[in-house]
Structure formats: structure tokens, C-alpha cells
């Protein structure tokens, strides 16, 4: 009797550990659902939207300009931020706001990305705290899942802040 109870308990613990580990791997390497809050990504993502963030391209280093990413905040690692990638390492980015008369530019250092919200007037982003290390990126937002009338893939940046560069040709 006692032995059977012990065996059952051990089995249950084993299953819990196994499924816990599978869940960890899924959340860490495949993707997760995220509830976004805050005004910084309006009108692309509004308060309380649910999005799916995939973690595959982060591990394969396939994050590109124009992608929306979830990243750990540079000043508080417990907080996550949701912003658009404006520049990758080596890109030239504009550090001043759209209404400023004098435009200032800078280059993104190695291993960093430049993040900005789509709502330029109400977003604290790389324009205030500078480039963000690539390793702080947790995932790329690829689908909006809630509310139902706005389900679908993410839209292009409405701000036109991404400086287009010549596409690289194959031989250089």
C-alpha cells in the first residue's frame, strides 16, 4: 500500500518535471503569447492587445530592420518593452525627433540594435537611452491574436524612420 503510494507520487513528480521542462523549452525556443500594454506602439499595437512572439529568429540571429521585437528593458531587466527595430549594427540612424529642425545622426555600435516605438511622441526608446544590446531581445512579434477584428500579421512601420540603404548585392 505504502509502496504503491510512493510509486504513484514519484511518477507524478516525474511527469511534472518532464512537462515543466517541455514547457520551458517551448517558451524559450519557440514562442509565447504576450499581452502588450502602454501607448508606445500605437497605432500598430494598442493597449491590451495579445500578440504571439516567436523566439526562433532571435536564436538564429535573423532579426531584421522593421521587425517588432519584445526586449528586456535596459534599465530594469524584470520589465519587457515592445518596440520596432530601426537599425541594426553599423546602420546610420536619426537620433532626433521628426519635428526637430536639426537632424542628428549616429551609427549603431557592434552587437546592438536601435529600437523605437511607432508612437514617436509618446515612447521612451533608444532616442533617450541609446542603442540596446542584441542579447536583450527576447522575441519577434509575428502575429496579432486579439482583439478578433484585428487578427493578422504585423504592418509596416507608419513612421518612415527606417533609413533605407542600398540592398547588398551578392558579390560584395
Amino acid at each position: 500500500m505504502f509502496r504503491r503510494a510512493l510509486g504513484k507520487t514519484l511518477g507524478l513528480v516525474g511527469y511534472t518535471v518532464q512537462y515543466g521542462c517541455i514547457a520551458h523549452c517551448a517558451f524559450e525556443y519557440i514562442g509565447e503569447l504576450v499581452v502588450c500594454s502602454g501607448p508606445s506602439m500605437e497605432p500598430t499595437i494598442v493597449d491590451n492587445d495579445v500578440v504571439f512572439s516567436e523566439h526562433v529568429s532571435r536564436h538564429l540571429f535573423k532579426i531584421e530592420k522593421g521587425d517588432i521585437v519584445i526586449a528586456k528593458s535596459i534599465s530594469d531587466p524584470h520589465m519587457n518593452i515592445c518596440k520596432r527595430v530601426i537599425g541594426l549594427q553599423g546602420d546610420k540612424v536619426c537620433t532626433s525627433g521628426p519635428s526637430d529642425i536639426f537632424k542628428t545622426h549616429t551609427y549603431v555600435p557592434l552587437g546592438h540594435v536601435w529600437l523605437e516605438g511607432d508612437n514617436l511622441k509618446n515612447s521612451s526608446d533608444s532616442r533617450s537611452y541609446g542603442p540596446v544590446p542584441y542579447a536583450l531581445i527576447r522575441g519577434r512579434v509575428c502575429m496579432k491574436l486579439w482583439p478578433p477584428h484585428r487578427v493578422g500579421p504585423m504592418k509596416e512601420s507608419p513612421t518612415g524612420r527606417i533609413i533605407k540603404t542600398k540592398p547588398h548585392s551578392d558579390w560584395d
Partner: protein, 180 residues
């Protein structure tokens, strides 16, 4: 008969595979990680013999789950310059501390919130905060707790700061005193 046995073995193998891989990955991600130390940046504490013999350290990942570190801890951090590389350094100052830098652009610096100042023990031969500035706590990867190879130097890594390094003015002075 043989075919049936083969099928049973295959099934057991696949089943074991689906248990072993997630469990291993989770343990390496959450609990502990074993890593080889390369380079001379932490001499004389790690790799004292130079390139010929590499030390192996145990990185405790459970201890950094809440991003808690202390001055003098040896930690591994994802390099801010190259996200594919991890670097192992000593924490010299925490957020809010004032520090005298060795070769950074500012001579004196206050560490911003959510950042750490990390340095290799081998000044001048180490790519650390003196070249790329304070690093975000979010880049923390593990806390080096033991040297496990070579066996004659097997030891628990104690928290210690080099005599001449440390914050000039620490933000949590009262807490530190209670702790020791």
C-alpha cells in the same frame, strides 16, 4: 519477432529522447552550466598557466534568476559587442555606485540604474567595462560558483574584490555592512 523487438526498442529510444533533451536543456538554462574559460583576462585567478591549460568552471544559473549579484562575484555575461559570445568577469560596482575607471572615456562615473561595472582581474589584457562601459543587468548569464578543472585547483569561488578596485562611494553601504 525480431522486427517487433526492434520496433519496441525504437519506441523506447524515441520516448527517452523526448524526455532527455528537454530536461537537459532546461537544466542547462535554469540550474547549472559548465563552461571552459578561454583567454587571459581573469589571470591569475582563472587560467593561471595561460593558453596551455584551460580552466573549467561551473556556472550557477539559478542564483541569477532574479538578477541578484554582489560586488566581487565572478559572473558570465553575454558580450554586448557580440551576442554569440559570453565573457567571464568580476563585478566591481553595482547600480548607483561611483567608480574611478581605468581607461574609459570618463575618469569618474556613476553606474546607471540596472547596470553593472565588470572588469577582468588582468588589467590591460581584458576586454571589459573599461572599453564598452557599464553593462545592462539583463545580459547576466550565470554566476561562477566553482572551479571544477583542473582537479588540483578544485574550489568554491569566494567573493572578493581586488584590493585597489571597488566603488569610491557605494549606494548600498548600510546593507553591505549588515551582510558581512
Amino acid at each position: 519477432m525480431a522486427q517487433q523487438a526492434g520496433r519496441r526498442y525504437l519506441r523506447a529510444f524515441v520516448g527517452g529522447f523526448f524526455v532527455a533533451v528537454p530536461v537537459t536543456v532546461t537544466v542547462l538554462d535554469r540550474v547549472a552550466y559548465v563552461a571552459r574559460v578561454e583567454g587571459t583576462s581573469m589571470q591569475p585567478f582563472l587560467n593561471p598557466e595561460g593558453v596551455s591549460a584551460c580552466d573549467v568552471v561551473l556556472l550557477n544559473r539559478w542564483r541569477v534568476r532574479n538578477y541578484e549579484v554582489h560586488r566581487g562575484d565572478i559572473v558570465s555575461i553575454v558580450s554586448p559587442k557580440n551576442p554569440q559570445q559570453k565573457i567571464i568577469k568580476r563585478v566591481v560596482a553595482l547600480e548607483g555606485d561611483f567608480i574611478r575607471t581605468l581607461s574609459y572615456k570618463n575618469r569618474y562615473l556613476r553606474i546607471p540604474d540596472g547596470h553593472l561595472w565588470i572588469e577582468g582581474d588582468h588589467h590591460g589584457h581584458s576586454l571589459d567595462s573599461n572599453s564598452f562601459g557599464p553593462v545592462s543587468v539583463g545580459l547576466l548569464h550565470g554566476h561562477a560558483s566553482h572551479i571544477i578543472w583542473p582537479p588540483n585547483r578544485w574550489q568554491r569561488i569566494q567573493r572578493s574584490l581586488p584590493v585597489d578596485r571597488g566603488p569610491l562611494l557605494s549606494s548600498h553601504a548600510a546593507e553591505e555592512e549588515e551582510e558581512f
